[in-house]
Symmetry: C2
Subunit: 339 residues, 2 copies
């Protein structure tokens, strides 16, 4: 039916209706001073009547800025990344920026560079790299806009790269210290994929806690965040009678670990303590309810974005406030070590 999409009204249309110049409409819409109250009212009324909306394209063309933040995310429905994305969007909108996401595909070499290119093509003022970066091939494209990396970017960081590291390392340390504090001689770790920052940082925290306590460092097991990979790691752990405490890098893998241990007849927490990470909503309803580390994604997103926007708008970016944003949630999958 309504095949002809009518041209939306512009500031000139509003101006004509209000009997003022286009420039005055622009002033009113931008809340500039030096407009009399009477005219302001008249313009606003005309705008309301016509259903006027500023044309972003024209605005962006004129100002040279898009007021848009782009995010490169690994396309996964994992709880952690999904939550982070939602918080980033909320935060961006709160400070007046639109929000674009591009998902790469796991295992897609060079996918990050292509995703960034795609964002630059659609027009963004800044880019957030939210998840992993390709292993060897760092994406050496010149973005021409500031980039916020939520993990340590390999290679020499350009002048426009901001690295904001969420508190994954603290989280790993906290989980490990909890288990050591319960008297376990050491703590095993089921990590995420090597190429994820979050994964590497959690490993780092685990190592640091072990070293600080003088505990021996067991070999590292690694999964891919999925319950299936946790299950595989869990079978290996179940077969080793020395294991009494495990820190699993996310709750999904912990589900797989718990399943494997139950299958092998190793009681949790009777024989083995397990700590997860993320505090997914299901964590409290597993068998047994899972002790886990929760991260405050909202705070982290706000901090990171604030730094990026400071850079975009040419302000000196304040040093990261660096308040710790993790919290251990104790449930029934851990208990003191009894030989």
């Amino acid at each position: 039916m309504s095949g002809t999409r009518r041209r939306p009204p512009g500031s000139t249309d509003v101006a004509r209706l209000a009997g003022v110049s286009q420039k005055t409409v622009s002033r009113v819409m931008n809340g500039e001073p030096y407009v009399s109250d009477e005219i302001r009212e008249r313009v606003l009324a005309a705008a309301r009547e016509l259903g006027y909306r500023r044309n972003t394209a024209a605005r962006a063309l004129n100002l040279g800025r898009f007021h848009r933040i782009g995010v490169v995310s690994l396309g996964s429905a994992l709880y952690g990344p999904a939550t982070q994305l939602i918080e980033l969007e909320r935060r961006a909108r709160a400070i007046g920026y639109a929000f674009s996401v591009v998902h790469t595909l796991e295992g897609d070499e060079g996918g990050v560079a292509r995703a960034m290119e795609s964002l630059l093509e659609q027009g963004v003022d800044g880019i957030v790299l939210s998840d992993p970066i390709d292993g060897g091939q760092e994406p050496r494209i010149d973005p021409g806009v500031p980039v916020l990396s939520l993990g340590p970017l390999p290679g020499p960081s350009g002048p426009d790269v901001i690295v904001h590291r969420p508190s994954n390392e603290d989280a790993g340390r906290e989980a490990t210290e909890h288990l050591l504090g319960l008297g376990h001689p050491t703590v095993w770790h089921v990590a995420g994929p090597e190429r994820w920052w979050a994964s590497r940082d959690r490993v780092r925290g685990w190592r640091a806690a072990l070293a600080a306590a003088g505990a021996p460092e067991p070999p590292l097991l690694a999964g891919d965040w999925t319950p299936a990979s946790g299950y595989a790691a869990g079978r290996a752990l179940a077969a080793n009678p020395d294991v009494t405490a495990v820190f699993v890098a996310n709750d999904d893998m912990a589900i797989g670990v718990l399943h494997a241990l139950a299958e092998a007849g190793r009681a949790v927490p009777g024989e083995m303590s397990v700590v997860g990470m993320d505090d997914i909503p299901a964590a409290a309803y597993l068998a047994p309810p899972l002790t886990t580390v929760r991260q405050d994604f909202a705070a982290s997103a706000a901090q990171g974005l604030a730094r990026l926007v400071d850079r975009i708008e040419g302000r000196q970016d304040a040093p990261a406030p660096d308040v710790p944003t993790t919290r251990l949630v104790t449930r029934r999958s851990t208990r003191p070590y009894r030989p």
Copy 2:
């Protein structure tokens, strides 16, 4: 440091370097015919040298279209919605559209209307309403662009509203029929929130299957998609010895139900069969592994978006192909009824 953001090169810069007119550069960048190979090469080389990228803002201003799809999503990290969002983005990018999401807050009255307004302000050619709509207050703003609703929109649908209903009803029917087919006298249902389309459609499918089999319809239990709400429903079900089969509207709630049943000492599937929905990655690793219905979000997103883009680009939209896109995944939480 690099505080001054240099103006990015434009088509005129490329034209100057290549010794042609700006218009010719435009032609080359758009792959138009009637450009000699020699000039095409020269322009491409110049563009590469300068790092030229078309300016979306200018393009959008000139063409009157943004090549951007906006999505209003309820901000939850639930597996189903998150997966749907990712697939929508993939699909949109595949057909040359950029992608903007705005998350509303659960329980935010009028949030959908505000989210749509926010999308229109940033400039989109079409809007997808991906999750629920506010109960009574339908968002009667005039978007001026086509709207794709992934569920039945209340009230008189404007000429620009396309309703594309994913196969939630089929899914509900399939789950219920599976349990009836195992001989259970009837099937109980733990639904999602009333205001979600997905929830209402699954209920409809459940009802239809019961009616078709002549089975009595037990009272409806409702949760809010969370394991916690599933746990509450599970306690109620556990207390009722008549219950032998339950269809839970998503896997997260099913986790809560399983937990409640285990706590109450009701064996699954020994005394009670449970079917979930979504096939979250953890489903196979629960105790017991969960029988569930999987939806093909990729296909559904592709179909819906295709219709929306047809409308945006002024084509007659083809009728929905309507291939079924659900599949029952049988695991160990269901078994034949034995009185």
